[in-house]
């Protein structure tokens, strides 16, 4: 049981901060809790031996996604909407569906016949191997991701750009 202590700490931290991230009233607190969830998940990745993924998770999600969310919260001035109710009209159905999905998933996991044991030795996946895989077998997805990110970047800028009326022409 003592071997599981790191998992228990990280898992409970992740779950609690995830619950806080969707339930707190103040949106900035939600974003900060989301960052905490990402960090907790990164430690879980490290426990599973996926070092590169864990660190990438922190660089991308904490360093970029959380910051972008925070910027969006400040730009939409929704940081202090304390007078409105938090949940929408059909919230009860949302809770029911969420609970139902968890029940179904839990039952499926319990009933499944595959129960794989973790390999005794931790699979050693060096950064070099990951790089060679990325440049070898996975080079096409890599290019596609590059294209997607460029398109998303341009798209995001255009969508968020202020529409200024053009001078001397139709708007």
């Amino acid at each position: 049981m003592i071997m599981d202590a790191p998992f228990l700490i990280a898992a409970s931290l992740t779950l609690l901060s995830a619950i806080a991230a969707i339930s707190l009233r103040n949106l900035v607190h939600c974003a900060l809790c989301l960052a905490l969830t990402f960090i907790g998940l990164a430690t879980l990745y490290l426990q599973l031996g996926a070092q590169f993924v864990g660190l990438t998770q922190i660089v991308v999600n904490v360093g970029a996604v959380a910051i972008v969310i925070v910027f969006a919260i400040l730009l939409t001035r929704s940081g202090d909407s304390s007078d409105e109710p938090r949940f929408n009209k059909g919230a009860v159905w949302g809770f029911l569906i969420g609970g139902g999905v968890f029940g179904a998933l839990g039952a499926a996991i319990n009933a499944s016949s595959i129960s794989l044991k973790a390999a005794a030795v931790e699979p050693s996946l060096t950064v070099k191997q990951i790089g060679q895989e990325l440049m070898g077998r996975y080079v096409l997805p890599l290019e596609a991701i590059g294209l997607l990110l460029t398109a998303a970047l341009i798209g995001a800028v255009i969508v968020a750009m202020r529409e200024t009326p053009r001078e001397g022409g139709r708007k």
Partner: protein, 401 residues
């Protein structure tokens, strides 16, 4: 010779030998952490005094000269003052976030030290993706700065935090690209391997040390790294986030007493660690600069520290002589000059790496010429482009909606 070099490693092994088996791991961790937590805050204390003395010299005044010999105990007086000051938290502040911000900043600055090799066999942890770890930990800095600025409920603090985050995100790209050039050349993200790759010398019987700064791409990468590191750690001339003459002190206006000191400490620790990374990546880490010269008796950690201190002194010099940039100059410089140069630098590393097998007469000269040309032409074009957009006109004001 060997003994002085490995003195700390031997000491640690000696102490570990005295400890019973089950406690060896925690004691070993403690022995790696405690020196870092002592040496670098101590260096911070001395740097604050040295910085004020040097700035005083640059600005034709004396600087601190009352406490201790030549004022070199000023840090003790400052420390006592900040510890005994009252800790004021604004009434409207978000108490928890306000408290956590300096803590997170300090922790992320200290964590980054764990992957830097300070000397031969002297590194707290050796992980495969050390450089990535360094930048991952840096992500905590941005979040801490935002937390400090937002939780203070002060418009200057929020302005400072927004400036700081915009600046950090913009300059993180050139910083990463500069580091990536070295990673590409070495083929490893492990700082220990990167230092090992810069061993020895070359040219005329090894006169020139094998540091990456003495290659065309390494030089460009080092300059990019230095500029971006200054911006990342909010040093002048990139100190807009805390411009005391415009927004009083930026994101830590509302901090006082020990929390303010924590910010100050974390900022300098961040500066030291990023300089340490620069030394590791470009200046050969702990390798001696004269591989051909009789200086074996100087230990490797002394070389590392002296290189680190020289870069810090360079930053103090820059602070004393350069005026602060404007926000549009800052952004234009990052996106229109540093980023393209960083990308071109990556191409040049590729060229450099794949022209290594050339071995006809004069191949080395051709290789240098091609790489320098590949870097110099974009440098002049980008620089001219940056300068040509300078428009002088009546000042316009824009107001917030």
């Amino acid at each position: 010779m060997e003994k002085l070099d490995q003195i700390f490693v031997t000491l640690k092994a000696l102490v570990l030998g005295l400890v019973p088996e089950p406690f060896q791991l925690p004691v070993s961790i403690l022995l790696s952490i405690v020196p870092i937590m002592l040496v670098f805050p101590g260096m911070f204390a001395l740097t604050t005094v040295a910085e004020r003395k040097l700035l005083g010299r640059i600005q034709n005044r004396l600087g601190p000269n009352r406490v201790g010999p030549f004022g070199f105990l000023q840090w003790a007086a400052d420390g006592l003052k900040t510890i005994t000051k009252e800790d004021i938290v604004p009434r409207n502040a978000d108490k928890v976030v306000h408290f956590l911000a300096p803590v997170i900043l300090l922790v992320s600055a200290l964590l980054a030290y764990s992957v830097i090799p300070f000397g031969r066999n002297m590194h707290a942890i050796e992980i495969d993706a050390g450089i990535l770890f360094f930048f991952a930990v840096g992500a905590g800095t941005e979040l801490a700065v935002f937390m400090a600025g937002w939780s203070s409920r002060n418009k200057y603090a929020l302005l400072g935090a927004m400036r700081a985050i915009a600046q950090m995100i913009s300059y993180e790209l050139p910083l990463l690209l500069a580091a990536l050039a070295v990673v590409m050349a070495v083929g490893s993200l492990n700082p220990v391997d990167i230092v090992a790759a810069q061993d020895g010398g070359r040219g005329w019987g090894g006169v020139v040390p094998n540091w990456f700064v003495f290659t065309p791409w390494g030089f460009v990468g080092f300059v990019l790294f230095l500029i971006a590191a200054a911006a990342e750690s909010n040093r002048s001339p990139f100190d807009l986030p805390e411009a005391e003459s415009e927004i009083i002190a930026g994101y830590f206006v509302e901090y006082s007493g020990m929390k303010f000191a924590t910010f100050f400490l974390a900022e300098y620790l961040g500066l030291f660690v990023i300089c340490g990374m620069g030394v590791t990546l470009f200046l050969g880490g702990w390798h001696a600069p004269f591989p051909w010269f009789w200086c074996d008796w100087i230990p490797s950690w002394a070389w590392f520290l002296s290189k680190l201190v020289s870069i810090v002194l360079l930053y103090i010099w820059m602070r004393g002589t350069l005026p602060r940039l404007r926000i549009d100059q800052l952004m234009n410089f990052a996106w229109k000059f540093m980023l393209p140069m960083g990308l071109i630098n990556l191409v040049v590393v590729g060229v450099w790496k794949y022209t290594r097998p050339w071995d006809y007469f004069g191949a080395e000269a051709v290789r240098w010429l091609v790489c320098v040309a590949l870097l110099a032409v974009p440098y002049f074009l980008l620089g001219r482009n940056l300068m040509s957009h300078r428009k002088w006109g009546p000042r316009t004001y824009r107001y917030a909606e």
